[in-house]
C-alpha cells in the first residue's frame, strides 16, 4: 500500500501542495486528475522521491525518505512525460536500461516491446521514432524494471506521468490494458491523467486535485461528479450526458484489435 500523510511541497515561498493525505492500494489503478497547475506532477515527483517534501510517504511499509535509490528501484518504476535522449541508442538498448542491475536476459525486453506494440523495433534508433513511439519504448523500459508485479518484499509499483497523453486512441487503449493487467496481477499503479474518459474507464480509485489540495478521492462514480468536477476545473461539466447534435466518440465503446 502507498500511504501519503500530510504531504506538503513548497518551492521558494509558493506552496505547491498542501497537506495531502491518501492511500492507494496494490492491485488497483489509482489515477490523479485535476486542472493544469493543480500540482499533479509535483505530487508524483514527491511520491517518487524527486523533490523534497514535508510529511511522510510510505510504500510497502517503507518510509520513502529512508530508502536508498537501489531499494526504491527494486520496488517501483517511474515513467516521465517525455524522455529525450541525445545519444544514438537503439530501442533495445533503451529498454534494457530498465534492468541495470539484473541478469542479462533479453526475454523481458522483447516481451515488453511486443506488449506496447513495438515488436520488431529493437534495432531502430530511439531518436528517429515519433513522440508517441518514444513514449511506448519508455513504457517498455519501465515494465522491464518491475517485470514481476509482485516481488520478494511485496507488490511492485508503477508511477506514470500522463502515460497516454502523446498517444492515439488505439495505443491509448493498448497502454490502459497493460496498466490494468499489471494491477490485476497484484502490482500497484499510481498515475497522473489528463483524459477524464480514459480515467473513468480504467481507474479503480480517482483522486481529484485543485490548487495543490485534495478535493476528493473515491471510485470513478464517486469522484467524477458534476459538482466536484465543475468546481475543480472552473467550468460547467455534466457527466454521462450525450449532446443533442454533433459527433462524439468515447473510448469506452472502443476495443483493441488483437
Amino acid at each position: 500500500m502507498l500511504i501519503a500523510n500530510q504531504v506538503s511541497v513548497r518551492l521558494g515561498r509558493r506552496t505547491i501542495l498542501l497537506d495531502l493525505s491518501f492511500n492507494a492500494l496494490a492491485g488497483q489503478v489509482t489515477a490523479v486528475v485535476g486542472p493544469s497547475g493543480a500540482g499533479k506532477s509535483t505530487l508524483l515527483a514527491a511520491l517518487t522521491g524527486d523533490i523534497e517534501y514535508a510529511g511522510t510517504v510510505t510504500l510497502c511499509q517503507r518510509d520513502l525518505a529512508q530508502a536508498s535509490v537501489a531499494e526504491l528501484a527494486e520496488m517501483r518504476a517511474v515513467l516521465p512525460q517525455a524522455t529525450p535522449i541525445s545519444f544514438p541508442f537503439t530501442v533495445l538498448e533503451v529498454v534494457r536500461m530498465g534492468r541495470l542491475r539484473r541478469a542479462s536476459d533479453d526475454r523481458a525486453a522483447s516481451e515488453a516491446l511486443s506488449q506496447v506494440g513495438l515488436r520488431g523495433f529493437e534495432g531502430r534508433y530511439y531518436q528517429e521514432l515519433s513522440g508517441g513511439e518514444q513514449q511506448r519504448v519508455q513504457l517498455a523500459r519501465v515494465l522491464v524494471q518491475v517485470w514481476e508485479p509482485v516481488g520478494p518484499v511485496g507488490p511492485r509499483w508503477l508511477f506514470l506521468d500522463e502515460p497516454v497523453s502523446s498517444l492515439d486512441i488505439g495505443h491509448q487503449l493498448q497502454v490502459m490494458r497493460i496498466i490494468q493487467n499489471f494491477a490485476g496481477a497484484g502490482g500497484g499503479v499510481m498515475m497522473v491523467m489528463h483524459d477524464l474518459n480514459l480515467t473513468a474507464m480504467c481507474a479503480d480509485s480517482v483522486i481529484l486535485m485543485a490548487d495543490g489540495a485534495l478535493v476528493h478521492q473515491g471510485t470513478p462514480q464517486e469522484t467524477l461528479r458534476d459538482q466536484l468536477l465543475s468546481t475543480a476545473y472552473g467550468c460547467r461539466i455534466a457527466v454521462n450526458r450525450a449532446p443533442n447534435t454533433g459527433v462524439f466518440l468515447l473510448p469506452q465503446v472502443a476495443t483493441v484489435l488483437d
Binding site: 515527483a45 517518487t48 522521491g49 524527486d50 535509490v69 537501489a70 526504491l72 528501484a73 527494486e74 517501483r76 518504476a77 517511474v78 516521465p80 524522455t83 529525450p84 535522449i85 541525445s86 545519444f87 544514438p88 541508442f89 537503439t90 530501442v91 533495445l92 538498448e93 533503451v94 536500461m97 530498465g98 541495470l100 542491475r101 533479453d106 526475454r107 525486453a109 522483447s110 529493437e122 534495432g123 531502430r124 524494471q145
Partner: protein, 354 residues
Amino acid sequence: MVDNTGGAVRLDGDRSVTARRLSWLLAFLLFASVIAGLATGAAGTSLWQAMADLVNGRSLALRDRVVLWEIRAPRVLMGCLVGAALAVSGAALQGLFRNPLADPGIVGVSAGASLGAVSAIVLGGALAFNAGFAAWLVPISAFIGAWVTTILLYRIATRRGRTSVATMLLAGIALTAMAMSLTGILVYMADDAQLRDFTFWSMGSLAGSNWSKMAVAAPIIVFPLLLTPLLATGLNGLSLGEAAAGHIGIRVQQLKAGAVLIVAASTGAAVAVSGGIGFVGIVVPHLLRLVSGPDHRYLIVNSALLGATLLVSADLISRVIIAPSELPIGIITAVIGAPFFLWILLRQRGVVDL
C-alpha cells in the same frame, strides 16, 4: 530479427558483439602505431636493426640506445597516455552533460587546466620547496584548474537536471576567455626563465617527453582511466535524464562527482604534460558511437584505445611531415578536429536547439 546462433538468442539492436570486436581491432591498431612510432624518427635509427642486435646478443650503439630508449619510447608512451586521457575525458564529459558536443577543449576545461599549469610555472617558484615537489606542482594545479572549471560549467549549464547545450557552449566560451585572460596576466608577470618554460609548454607537443615527466604524469592519468569503467553503467542511465537515472537505481550525485573528478584529473594531467592538444575528446567518442553505439561500457575502453592510436599517429605525422623540423601536434589535431566538430554540429542541429 532474432539470430539464433550458438544457443544464445541475440536481438537486433544489440551492438555489444560489434563493440567487443572493435576493441580487438583498435588494440591491434594501437600496437601497430606504437611500433611505427618507435621505428620512425629524424635520427634514422632502425628499430629492426636494434632488435636484431638485441636478439643476437650484440650490444647497442650508445646513440641508438639513447634515440630509442630515451627519446622515442617515452614520447610514444606519453602519446598513448595523453591520447587515451583526452579521449576518455571527452567521453565522460559528454556522458555527464548528456550530449555529444561537450569536449574539454571546447567547453573551457582545458583552458582551466592551462591556467592551473601556468599558475604553477609562474607562481610555483615561491611554493616549490624542492625539485621533486616542483615536478608534481604543474600537473596537480592543472588538475585543480580543470576541476574548478568543470564544476563551474556544470553549475551554469545544468538546471534541475537538464543541460542546455546552448548555455553549455556559451558558458564554455566565457570560461575559456576568462581563464585565458588570467593566464595572460600571469604570463605578463613572468620573468624570462618562466616565460621560456611557458612557451615550450604551451606549444602543445609531446617533444619534451622523458621518463621523469612520465613518472609524474602516468599515475595521474592511469588511475582515473582505470576508474572510469566503473562509471559506465551510471553514465548509460544518466542519458535518460537525472531523475530517470535515479529511478532506475543510480546514485546520481556520486556519479556526477566521480565523473567530474575523472574528467578533471585526466584533462589536467594531459594538459600539464602536453599543452593544448584539442579535439581528440570530441572526434574519438563520436566516431565510436557511429560504429558501435553509445553504450559507455564499451565506449570508454574503445575511446582510450582509439585516442591513444590517434595521438601516437598524429605525433608521428608531426615528426615526419617537415623533418628534421617538427610541426606542433596541436596543429594536426585541430586541422582534423575542427572540421569534424562542424560536421557534428550540422548533423545534430536539433540537439543544439534543444
